[in-house]
């Protein structure tokens, strides 16, 4: 059985159910699923077609690392498959290799995609509602709106890495890029939606950034498409084996 290593990049941790992919048993078959909510209650959708490779990888990691088949996983903007496994009351996130899926989900007779495409098949523009499934990796536009950061548990530098108990890394784009013009380029599309208060936004496997905003009725959140991240003005890809 292969040995899996803890993932050295961002561990999503506390995100909403909508921000996670899951492997579930659907009609006797393990399938990739997402939770979906358009304001009419939470449901889950199963991926159309076959993505058995991802399903198998997720289940192998869950089993190999002490868990059981099925459960949550993530795919980030670097196409890294990240699989959390519960461990001592918390979750450790393992690297599951590179993947490049093109998930589609059927909803009310139409196909939903995680690409920035509207129901009419036309590309979304920044500021449009994000109607697709919402799995993604959480980042934060800093208060003041002039930086982006993420927080994740710190790992040891040795191989294989282990968790440094109680230690959290806060990684700031301004420190990573050290170029104010590049930081401004990265921040701008998020700032256009969230403003100087900042707040959380998500980036999915296609590099699409979207963010929840208050719908105004006190009940629900709308998700707004912010645009595509620019890899030249973004966090560097975490090291993987």
């Amino acid at each position: 059985m292969p040995e899996y290593s803890l993932y050295r990049g961002l561990w999503p941790q506390n995100v909403s159910k909508l921000a996670k992919y899951g492997v579930r048993m659907v009609n006797g078959e393990w399938k990739v699923t997402v939770h979906y909510d358009l304001g009419e209650g939470l449901m889950y959708l199963a991926v159309e077609g076959s993505e058995t490779d991802i399903v198998d990888r997720v289940n192998q990691i869950k089993q190999a690392c002490g868990g059981q088949s099925g459960g949550v996983f993530y795919i980030n903007e670097y196409h890294h498959l990240i699989v959390p496994v519960a461990h001592d009351g918390t979750s450790h996130y393992f690297y599951g290799g590179r993947v490049n899926p093109d998930f589609t989900f059927e909803f009310e007779g139409a196909l939903l995609t995680t690409k920035p495409i509207g129901r009419d098949g036309q590309p979304l523009s920044p500021g449009d509602p994000w109607i697709g499934p919402r799995p993604g990796i959480p980042y934060v536009l800093a208060a003041g709106g002039n930086d982006i950061y993420f927080e994740t548990p710190a790992l040891t530098d040795v191989a294989p890495p282990s968790v440094r108990a109680g230690v959290t890394r806060k990684v700031m784009l301004s420190k990573v890029l050290r170029d104010p013009a590049l930081v401004a380029r990265a921040v701008r599309p998020i700032w256009e939606v969230r403003g100087h208060h900042g707040g959380r936004f998500y980036v999915n496997e296609h590099g699409s950034a979207f963010t929840p905003v208050d719908r105004g009725d006190g009940n629900c959140l709308n998700y707004i498409y912010c645009g595509q991240i620019d890899p030249a003005a973004w966090f560097s890809e975490p090291p993987v084996l």
């Binding site: 950061y149 927080e151 710190a154 109680g166 230690v167 959290t168 890394r169 806060k170 990684v171 700031m172 420190k175 990573v176």
Partner: protein, 225 residues
Amino acid sequence: MIFQPEAFPFPRWLGPYSPARGNNSGFRIRGGQLGAHVVTDGGREFWTAQQTRGVLDLVQLIKAHWQGGRIVFLPNGFVVKPLQKETERVLIGRVSDALTLNGDGCHVLDFSNLRYLTPGSSWPGPGTIGLESKIRSDGSLTSGWYRPTDYGQEETQEVIAGSNASLLDGFQKARPGENSGRVRITVGGHVITNGDERDGSLQPHYVGRVAPSIFRNWERWIEGR
């Protein structure tokens, strides 16, 4: 007070630490004297440390390297000096034995003799000294601190003292109705917290004491150069 300086260059300190809360918080070297500000009915006073050999050695060391500024006495006896903008901290030495602060008039605060203080009573000294910490509902103490890195910062949360029913009892006497909150662990392991007064102000109160010997294994946060 006995002061044992660290060898120069001073090692980096990566462990528990509390940042400054304004220009008058914590222990400071001012006008060539070690002391801390105390808010009294008459205003803010700078209470100075009794000039023992150890205090003089500490002041001399600070003056030689930085002229003055803030220092942090950790409850295990480590003395930490924040450098510019607090982006780096160094361990400058270790203290043991008594420290006494002299205030205006006849005020004296001898950290080695505070047995007259009962948990919940007013704290008769500086309220902004010591290591910021949080007491939890089992009386244990946690501390959180950060250090800047080249990618941003690293934040650490650590349980620094285990469950302690009598400490929690003291906290609840100082802040009735609460079972967790912020405290400061000062010289000698004396714990204080800010409690609400009837006039709405916050005043420091005595919570109790933890033995400095429980803060073990802090050497691991010393990074030599």
